[in-house]
């Protein structure tokens, strides 16, 4: 490559310095993304899934269990609308780990979620599972969700027999 870049040596040096300092800035970037995911979870715990509107990129994809892939922010918000309208539905999650690319424009977090609701008999139901979220950093420095998916950690118990 070098023979093609006679004018670039200063940039080579600069980028090499940035790469060399990568360790601590990568750690900082990971912490920042973890904090963004935690903030997202806190806002959803407080205000419900309508908060997704502020966090999802227009071209995001959602991978819900037992449903086909959902493409695009509008379709994803539409999918979550009934959950948002259900006052007994609560969703929380906690990231366990984050990673960010070297230039800080792409990252992912994964962790655990807990979803609670009440069934048709009024019985509380809790589902626990794992999730992964892929994030893209926007030009304004904020992170937006570009892919999100998860699955339950265990099978549901079969429904109780009627009257039982």
């Amino acid at each position: 490559m070098r023979p093609f870049l006679p004018a670039l040596p200063p940039l080579v040096v600069l980028a090499a310095l940035v790469a060399a300092c990568g360790g601590s800035s990568q750690r900082a970037a990971r912490e920042e993304l973890l904090a963004a995911d935690e903030r997202f979870a806190a806002e959803v715990a407080d205000k419900g899934v309508s908060v997704f509107e502020r966090y999802y990129a227009e071209d995001a994809v959602e991978m819900p269990s037992f449903q086909p892939l959902i493409e695009g922010k509008s379709a994803i918000l539409e999918f979550y609308r009934p959950y948002g309208n259900n006052p007994s539905f609560k969703l929380t999650w906690k990231p366990a780990h984050a990673e960010v690319s070297k230039e800080g424009d792409l990252g992912f977090t994964y962790g655990h979620y807990q979803a609670t609701t009440v069934d048709e008999h009024g019985t509380p139901v809790t589902r626990v599972g794992k999730y992964v979220t892929i994030w893209r950093r926007e030009y304004d420095g904020g992170w937006k969700v570009i892919l999100d998916g998860g699955s339950p950690d265990q099978r549901e118990a079969p429904p109780a027999a009627p009257g039982g």
């Binding site: 093609f4 992964v132 998916g149 118990a157």
Partner: protein
């Protein structure tokens, strides 16, 4: 797709970097180019980096079809995590391979997948693919039962230029089939 500002300085490198990216796509073991040109050229060749990851993911499916779960060894990073449906998260390549062993020991089951979309960071060191999988089980009568789902794989570029999966997860596109009525009542207890 978002391009890092540094890519603008490398606008004249497009032809040279396309040649490199094509060479990298030809096989997983191509040595990485020198770090700085690669960082800029990776941003400029984003479509090629995406195509290379799609190709790698498709080849992963082919190799697993041919060699079974032993093929995972070459594609997963040591610290990879796996997110299976109805099971807790699995951590580490060894544990991931162990968790897949029963699936591949069962010769009535076949698992294949196809990437549909890929994306790569501007720095070319992190990327992801997503697509569809098919799990086919042949029953005693020879009839195939197919379960389809979606998956995502996140890839990290290694020092030698190869990509390794650091996260893999997926879930079915439809609810699980209702359990068949068991012959003995005891089998129906939750």
């Amino acid at each position: 797709m978002h391009l890092a500002p540094s890519s603008r300085f490398h606008a004249t490198l497009l032809a040279a970097s396309l040649v490199l990216a094509t060479a990298a796509a030809a096989g997983p073991a191509v040595a990485a180019p020198t770090p700085v040109p690669a960082a800029g050229s990776a941003a400029k060749t984003a479509p090629d980096a995406r195509a290379a990851l799609m190709e790698l993911d498709a080849r992963f499916s082919d190799e697993v079809g041919a060699k079974g779960f032993a093929a995972f060894d070459g594609f997963f990073a040591e610290d990879a995590v796996y997110l299976p449906t109805f099971e807790p998260r699995v951590e580490g390549k060894k544990a991931i391979m162990e968790s897949f062993r029963p699936l591949f020991d069962d010769h009535t089951i076949k698992l294949t997948w196809k990437p549909l979309r890929a994306d790569v960071a501007a720095s070319g060191d992190l990327g992801w693919t997503t697509g569809s999988y098919e799990m086919t089980r042949v029953d005693e009568t020879g009839a195939p039962h197919v379960r389809r789902g979606k998956y995502v794989t996140i890839w990290r570029r290694q020092a030698d230029g190869s990509w390794k999966a650091v996260l893999d997860g997926g879930n079915p596109d439809t609810p699980p089939p209702a359990p068949a009525p068991a012959p003995a009542p005891a089998a129906q207890r939750p």
